[in-house]
């Protein structure tokens, strides 16, 4: 009788729980072509229609294809620094442990602090250190995916660099873009930073456990989110207390 096939036990692999660090800082060694001599009488205008993010979008499409082939659903979490992306992921990973195999890519300018916080037995997690870059792009995700053991993974959580502006422009190949807003940031952030909300599939209003103490106007915040992101599912929750998590976990299970 052949031995019973078991899931790959990542925990038994030596060093499997170490944080994988993918350093994407690029040395600036681009050769610069010097300007040539102008050719007299050759002045001309060319009409084009080239998307400046075409290269990123192509890589994002490749990422999407790779993930689809592996049966992985990817979520891209974006927010300002300190809105609670890591805390949300910590509680989410604990809640799904033993039920859904997950993997994490986490981007920051420096340190692997977040990846260390997110370490869990058997969980593939890689820290992408961007150096100065203020967002993750599709090529960084491709490198992160190559570094992660993805066997059996169903959900990939990508924690973007904390920044409410730049990550909006970069498709990573994710299936869902999740924008977080926390009560400490104020009700009008969606109106001040529309692109990151207009492109979201879901918006999470985090830290609702301290909303009252802050004098936070939840109704106004929800109305602002709906104005800028009428398409988005909205989740009010607290990553610290777990309030509102049932709906959020049901949303994640619904993606599988």
């Amino acid at each position: 009788m052949p031995p019973k096939k078991t899931e790959p036990a990542l925990t038994s692999v030596p060093g499997a729980n170490d944080v994988i660090v993918v350093d994407v800082r690029e040395p600036d060694d681009t050769p610069v072509t010097p300007p040539g001599d102008p050719v007299p009488g050759s002045r001309r205008t060319v009409e084009l229609q080239v998307r400046l993010l075409d290269q990123n979008d192509q890589q994002a499409a490749e990422n999407r294809a790779v993930l689809k082939k592996r049966g992985i659903r990817a979520l891209n979490f974006v927010s300002s620094p300190g809105a609670g992306k890591t805390a949300l992921l910590e509680r989410t990973l604990d809640a799904l442990a033993g039920e859904v195999r997950c993997a994490v890519l986490v981007g920051d300018l420096e340190t692997d602090n977040d990846a260390r916080r997110l370490r869990r037995p058997g969980l593939p997690v890689a820290q992408i250190t961007t150096g100065g870059t203020c967002h993750l792009d599709a090529s960084m995700i491709a490198r992160g995916l190559a570094a992660l053991p993805l066997e059996g993974v169903r959900l990939l959580f990508i924690e973007n660099v904390g920044n409410l502006v730049c990550p909006a422009s970069f498709d990573l190949g994710e299936n869902r873009r999740i924008t977080l807003l926390s009560c400490t940031e104020g009700e009008d952030k969606p109106l001040k930073y529309p692109p990151i909300f207009t492109s979201a599939h879901a918006v999470i209003l985090n830290k609702i456990d301290i909303a009252t103490a802050l004098g936070f106007d939840r109704a106004a915040a929800l109305a602002n989110i709906r104005r800028v992101a009428p398409q988005a599912d909205i989740f009010e929750l607290s990553a610290r207390t777990g309030e509102g998590f049932d709906r959020w976990l049901a949303y994640l299970r619904g993606l599988l």
């Binding site: 610069v32 072509t33 010097p34 300007p35 040539g36 001599d37 102008p38 050719v39 050759s42 002045r43 001309r44 205008t45 060319v46 009409e47 084009l48 229609q49 080239v50 998307r51 400046l52 993010l53 290269q55 100065g132 870059t133 203020c134 967002h135 792009d137 502006v165 730049c166 909006a168 422009s169 970069f170 969606p190 109106l191 529309p194 692109p195 990151i196 207009t198 709906r226 104005r227 800028v228 992101a229 009428p230 398409q231």
Partner: protein, 114 residues
């Protein structure tokens, strides 16, 4: 600050086009930037001043055409311009609409070369 990377892509594309056309200099670039592209036109302009010197596009004029956001209301079947007070709220029927007809553009649309 991702405008620098965007400007670098634009320069790379412009130089590729110029090389293919056997041009030696890029004299001007026209870039279209949507209001909801997440790119700040002034930061983009500043980024070009940093990267053009020493390249075949040195001294090139950079023109940035801004494109306003334009949303569409399926109920009234008409376009409207979202503003910060009434974001995506149809001015006629008040419905919140997520269909964006324009505003996310980030394109290189014209080059002048010699």
């Amino acid at each position: 600050m991702h405008e620098l990377g965007i400007a670098e892509s634009a320069l790379e594309m412009a130089l590729t086009q110029a090389t293919a056309a056997k041009a030696t200099r890029v004299l001007s670039l026209v870039i279209r930037v949507g209001a909801l592209s997440g790119v700040d036109p002034e930061a983009l302009r500043f980024a070009f001043t940093a990267i053009l010197p020493g390249t075949p596009a040195e001294g090139a004029a950079v023109q940035i055409d801004s494109v306003a956001a334009l949303a569409y209301c399926p109920t009234c079947q008409r376009d409207f311009v979202p503003d910060t007070d009434h974001f995506f709220e149809c001015p006629t029927c008040g419905q919140l609409c997520s269909t964006l007809k324009q505003g996310r553009e980030l394109d290189l649309i014209r080059l002048e070369m010699t």
